[in-house]
Subunit: 518 residues, 2 copies
């Protein structure tokens, strides 16, 4: 296991994130220290880092250096963005913090945009997109083509700067808002026209948009506690902007989801994104939970070009590696679930994406055992809910959770998760049928000994007959699976019959044939 | 690690529970198979196990024997209760299942009562209590004195038997209900008088009462998902009984919390407990999540007399052993939390029980790290919520959850958990003050290096001054703890000042003194 600390020295916030990882295999965040340093404060007047701002940044870097030393962190990297990059006294600042011994890399606007694009390329299944990051000092807008940054640029239009230069009163007057929008039009109106001319998805990252997305989720009781992959609509952003514009900073700080130390600058960020969506004719944008820090981390985690081959597949493996379970049992449940899905195709008619989702659920079905047997199906759903999961829509994430939650007992239903968009892709029937496949696979592997070698399915109008080929008499499996017939029968509207392929090893106990197992 | 399977062959249900454990150290359930065998069916007519009932029991035992073989379970014990004990054809049944090779122990009524009492003695802080277990075949009523069974007896008044002998129609007529109560009065009226004559708490166990408690929790939106330690009031039981009496079995099976295969006999059990509470003049009873199976398990887990010395302390250690974290860090946080609690006594005025609870929270504060750093405070609360925790009231359990949930950030509040009884023991102030102690302890150990050796506190009217003795300059600790002053100040209504004991190792950076860390 390796560890690396990435420090992002932004114009509003400094943050140390520590990753533990095995290159290319798995990674997870193991620590984080956030400092609201407001390094870009008052830079509008002469592009100069102020003395108090430099003191705060130095203190934060000092803290991180001490942390690295005490924690014996072998590897640390500081990336500095717009505030340092643009400062006329940048060299003085760098010299001042040099004694701390931290390697500081000042990113150019293009490099910063590139790291953002890399985070998106490894966080979404999009091949092409527009990537936007409104930070404290600058705003990056980049086009991603074939998962690479095709054109990326930083504009000195971050939320701290825009607030200082345009929004003098609090709350801002409508004249100030108009002025800000005019500034945006003049500086990024052209790139916005390019966005308007295509239909690529818009992906946004950074602390400000995450705060806004969280506020929208809280105020609408969004059923999933997850930002990455959230689709923030222009309508929701409009409503939030109105709320932000109507209040003073002190009251904005109390809006659930808005970090108090951002309350003064969040309005400028909201106005930026609102203007961008309106001007580019988009109905909404996708929230990326990964940003420049993760982009930098992927640079270490993966060899050039630092791209995951299959994002969804990696996410599932990454979770499994953290909560590992018996490989043999897991593989057997995956195999049986896949076979059932294949054989039942005439009844469910689902395709490759659903097959992949079922397989992901089979891989993760027992991760809750890490927390103990008791309620491990609930634990598993909880773990999926609280793990990063890239390459899945929120509806798909919820589907995974429900499949794991109901892999042992009960009848799944969408409940409040049914509010998530994507019902046409996975509604009640799909949930039941996929759950039935996983449930049968789990109980056909009840003794966890891989005794079922294969199965054949015969479908008739009223019945589904599953014939098992087994290495030993699968007494436990048949007995226990029969108890689960109710779910299958509800999902596929047919009676379930289970039998072992006749062979010469022994007979199935007569009481089973008689159906005494209820 | 050892494993043992305990099979409870009851009159209504057979259940195999597998425990993993290290004797005296820790244990957890790792598997469970439940079969609704209804072995006591039709026994009223001549006390004879019927052929179909024996077939079902044999099939279940066959399943368990196969399971033990396939899972290489080294140790298994079957305990048979009332149905087998009372059957005139008991020897024929035992001979019939002998080929399965399972060691079957038929418990006498006293032995069964004794195991139940042992489960209560290891599940509650009571020294003395009445323990009641209405099973399928028999009902046990025992008196526990000095944590031992003083007088325990089994009566042939289990729910299956009572249903068959008294409640012929469905739903039962009021004449049938009266008849059942008359039967109870005749058979257990005398012991009920003994209960009436003292004020010992009443503790109930077994599947039926657990189902009823669950139903009451669901219908009242009880804020904790936990049965053990729940206090079921007579009033709630009255209301539930009315619901049960008004419906037929098919509809009762759909009441949330009631297991469908108990829906026919649950009415008899409800009437038994209602009668018992009314006749003994009690306002409610405590639910034990542990029963005869656990009683048998403790017989292996602990040497004679099979009693835990300190139930609450054991529960906390048992959880910690399952989600172990750095011992050094945990011990240091415990130490600092204890020191803060001691020194702040003049302000909070809390006693030994609260000190114990704070210590428990300190021991468990990082268990969520097992699931990953990200949101580990939430994970920790989740793990406590889903772990068995004996020797704590539900209010105390909720307090533990909140202390862990808020050990890193935010301001705790009771929310819906405030509905739990016990507000006088832990309300808003207590929660804030204990949370502040734990929060400071955590951040005074931020670098996880045990650098703070001790602390002294000076309390004045407007300020609390904490003076640290440290092995090295505790730069990170002071810096990070200052950020948490807001919680302390809200809890204790005084400004917090932190400083290191002057020494000759070096100076505290001036920017810290200047309070630049916001």
């Amino acid at each position: 296991m390796q560890r690396v600390g990435i420090v992002d020295l932004g114009s509003n916030t400094a943050r140390l994130v520590v990753f533990a990882y095995r290159p290319g295999r798995w990674f997870r965040k193991i620590d984080e220290i956030r400092e609201p340093i407001r390094l870009g404060e008052s830079m509008g007047r002469g592009n100069r880092l102020s003395e108090p701002a430099m003191q705060r940044a130095e203190a934060a870097l000092n803290l991180y250096a001490k942390y690295a030393q005490v924690m014996k962190l072998p590897d640390i990297e500081v990336i500095a963005t717009s505030a340092v990059r643009d400062a006329v006294n940048r060299e003085a600042f760098l010299q001042r913090v040099r004694p701390l011994g931290l390697p500081i890399r000042v990113l150019s606007g293009e490099e910063e945009a590139e790291l953002g694009v890399r985070a998106v390329a490894n966080g979404f299944d999009f091949e092409e997109a527009w990537v936007v990051d409104v930070g404290g000092g600058s705003a990056q807008i980049s086009q991603m083509l074939q998962r690479r940054s095709a054109a990326g640029q930083a504009y000195p239009l971050g939320a701290v700067r825009l607030t200082e230069s345009c929004l003098e009163s609090d709350p801002p007057s409508s004249a100030q808002v108009q002025w800000l929008e005019k500034v945006l039009q003049e500086n990024v109106g052209q790139v916005c026209q390019s966005i308007r001319s295509d239909s690529l998805p818009l992906v946004a990252m950074g602390g400000a948009i995450r705060n806004m997305a969280r506020a929208v989720q809280k105020s609408t009781q969004y059923p999933l506690d997850r930002l990455h992959g959230f689709y923030l609509t222009l309508q929701a952003l409009d409503e939030l902007s109105e709320r932000l514009l109507a209040a003073q900073a002190r009251r904005r700080a109390r809006i659930a989801g808005i970090h108090p130390d951002r309350a003064d600058i969040i309005v400028a960020a909201a106005l930026f994104y609102r203007w961008l969506l309106r001007s580019s004719g988009r109905e909404g944008l996708w929230i990326s939970g990964q940003g420049v820090r993760e982009g930098a981390f992927y640079g270490r985690f993966l060899p050039h070009p630092h791209l995951l081959t299959d994002i969804g597949d990696f996410s599932v493996r990454n979770i499994f590696e953290q909560y590992p379970q018996s490989d043999l049992h897991t593989e057997q449940v995956r195999f049986l679930a896949r076979r059932l899905f294949e054989e039942l195709l005439p009844l469910h008619g689902l395709g490759a994406r659903h097959a992949f989702l079922l397989d992901a659920a089979a891989r993760l079905h027992d991760i809750g055992m890490t927390l103990g047997y008791h309620k491990h199906h609930k634990h598993g759903a909880y773990l999926i809910n609280s793990s990063p999961l890239n390459g899945f829509s929120h509806r798909e994430t919820a589907l995974l959770m429900l499949l794991v939650r109901f892999h042992r007992k009960g009848v799944p239903s969408w409940g409040s998760l049914g509010k998530l968009p994507g019902q046409e892709m996975a509604g009640r029937r799909v949930l039941l049928q996929m759950a039935a496949c996983l449930r049968l696979a789990e109980f056909l592997e009840r003794s966890r000994g891989g005794r079922i070698r294969d199965l054949q399915v015969k479908i008739s109008k009223r019945k589904v007959r599953i014939r098992l080929t087994a290495s030993e008499n699968p007494f436990i499996e048949i007995w226990e699976t029969k108890k689960q017939a109710y779910l299958f029968e509800r999902a596929f509207q047919r009676r379930l019959l289970l039998e072992e392929e006749a062979d010469d090893r022994g007979q199935i106990p007569s009481m089973l044939k008689a159906g005494a197992a209820q």
